[in-house]
Structure formats: structure tokens, C-alpha cells
Symmetry: C2
């Protein structure tokens, strides 16, 4: 094993702290979520209630550094779970690897996202993402150009916003 | 559908041209590869023989632009297929989503990579990646800081290099 091979376990704690400042240490090697959505990575760490509604699990894949200036990880949203509204100073790319969920940019309609979809959130545009009510969501996130910042958290997504398909 | 939602089909041609200058237009919606390796994305475009040994299929996910300065895509390597040696001016991150393959940084041992693994190749370090002889490889690639460049292709990986586990 060479020094450039990333141990997912070794970076999970950092990425988790940098991105979500998660407060729970639950870690599991369970590979398949309860709702039939397939997982590539372990569930990781439970996101804090101050930033999420419902259960969202973060597993860090690439920690931030000065060479790649890119943060990468996986989030599994249980059915009904979603992030708060938030912004990324350099934007964010989401890659959906399984399940069904929602993504919304402020001022635009909520969009349904599913396995194989790719979503870009531009820099400093408020957005939220999460699972559909009945099916969980597995999504990779890529935050580029981290020298500009990682994430700025805002208010929770209300049930009215979550359920509004317009 | 809002303007920030990326149509994978619309970016495939660009990413393919920028990264591999593929020469074949075969496109398929087939989601599962022949060797039992599970696919999240369509196979995409066949990589050119000048840069690959065997069949490697590229599917572009995020085209390069001046905002995200990040190129993302998926490559499916059929069993035995591998890239030439090559470098990335700003480095590359690989995320293995299924199958079994190999990755080697010049001057270091060949490493086996499989579902759930993450590999980083530092800027300007020569490397190659591909499938194992008997099982294909599904891998996402992330090229950050594309203002520094995308890829510089070198010589093929010989059978001796490919088969050398040391």
C-alpha cells in the first residue's frame, strides 16, 4: 500500500469535521441501507440535528488539502431526511449513485434526482438536498476550490418547502 | 428541469473530447456490464487505442468550465483493459464504484483497487489504472484545478508491467 492510497477510514473524521462538524461517532461497515438503496461506502457519521432534518450519514472520502483543494465524500439520506438550506463559496457537484431524492436551488423549482444524475450548485447560491419521503438517497459530493471555503449553513427546510413540488 | 441540472448526455461529448479525444461514437444505455460489474452510468464512448490497451469506456459527467475548474466522469474498464501511462498537471482522484482493478504510480508497487476504494495521483506523477484480468472496473475520476491542464499521455503499459504485482 503506498502513501498516496487514501484510507477512507483515516480521512472520514477530518472531512466530517470540516464539512458538517458532526457530533456523533457512530460508524458502521453496513453496506446496504435498510430501504433497499444500495451503498458503495459505509454509512459513516450521523449529521447533527442543527444542520439536518432526519438522519443523514456522512462518509468522508477525500480530505481537504492544499494540493487538490477538493473535498469529496458520500452522504446517505434516509427517507424523508434533508439538509438545511446552505451555500458553498466555490459551489458543489452532487453525483447520485442510488435512490431517489430532491434538490432545490433558491428561487427555482424543486427537482427530483435519482441514480445516475449529476447536479451542480453554483458558488454562493443557497440550496438544499435530501431523500424522497419513501426512498433514501445515496449521493457523492465534490466541493472544488476549497481555498474559497467549504459550506455556510442556513435555516432548516420546512415541511412546506420539502413537499412543494412546484 | 433547471439550467443548473447537468444533462449527462450533453456533456459526454465535451468531456470525452477534452480528456481522451475518443474516436468512436458508440453510445449505449446498457446499465450492467457483461462481467457482472454493476454500472451506475451508461458505458459511453470507447477510448482510442492510442491511449488504452483493451476496451475502456468513458462517460462524461461534468464538463470543464471556469467556475468549478473540475472535470468528472466515469470509466468502465473491461477485464484486462488499462490506460497508458499518463500524468495530470493538477493530479487526479479515482473513486472505485464496482469491480476490481489496478493502479500504479511510477516507481511504486502496483496496487489492487476495488469497490469503495479512493486513490489520489499527485500532480505530474506518472500513473496508470485499469481492470484486473478477470473482473472489470467501474471508476469515477475527478480532475481538479483544470486551469493547470487535464492529461498528458505517455507510452502503453506493457504486459510485464501490467502483470507485475511487486
Amino acid at each position: 500500500m503506498n502513501r498516496h492510497r487514501i484510507s477512507a477510514a483515516s480521512v472520514a473524521a477530518f472531512a466530517f469535521a470540516a464539512l458538517f462538524t458532526f457530533s456523533c461517532n457512530e460508524q458502521t461497515s453496513k453496506k446496504t441501507a435498510n430501504d433497499g438503496v444500495e451503498a458503495i461506502f459505509p454509512k459513516g457519521e450521523l449529521g447533527p440535528a442543527k444542520n439536518f432534518t432526519g438522519n443523514a450519514w456522512n462518509y468522508g472520502l477525500v480530505e481537504n488539502d492544499s494540493i487538490f483543494t477538493t473535498l469529496v465524500g458520500n452522504v446517505y439520506f434516509e427517507p424523508g431526511a434533508r439538509s438545511n438550506w446552505h451555500t458553498h463559496p466555490a459551489g458543489q457537484i452532487l453525483i447520485i449513485t442510488d435512490g431517489v431524492g430532491y434538490h432545490q436551488l433558491e428561487g427555482q423549482p424543486r427537482q427530483t434526482i435519482k441514480k445516475g444524475d449529476v447536479v451542480k450548485c453554483p458558488p454562493n447560491v443557497r440550496h438544499w438536498h435530501g431523500a424522497s419521503p419513501d426512498t433514501g438517497l445515496q449521493q457523492l459530493y465534490i466541493i472544488p476550490n476549497t481555498e474559497k471555503g467549504i459550506v455556510e449553513w442556513r435555516q432548516p427546510v420546512t415541511d412546506e418547502e420539502y413537499n412543494n413540488a412546484k
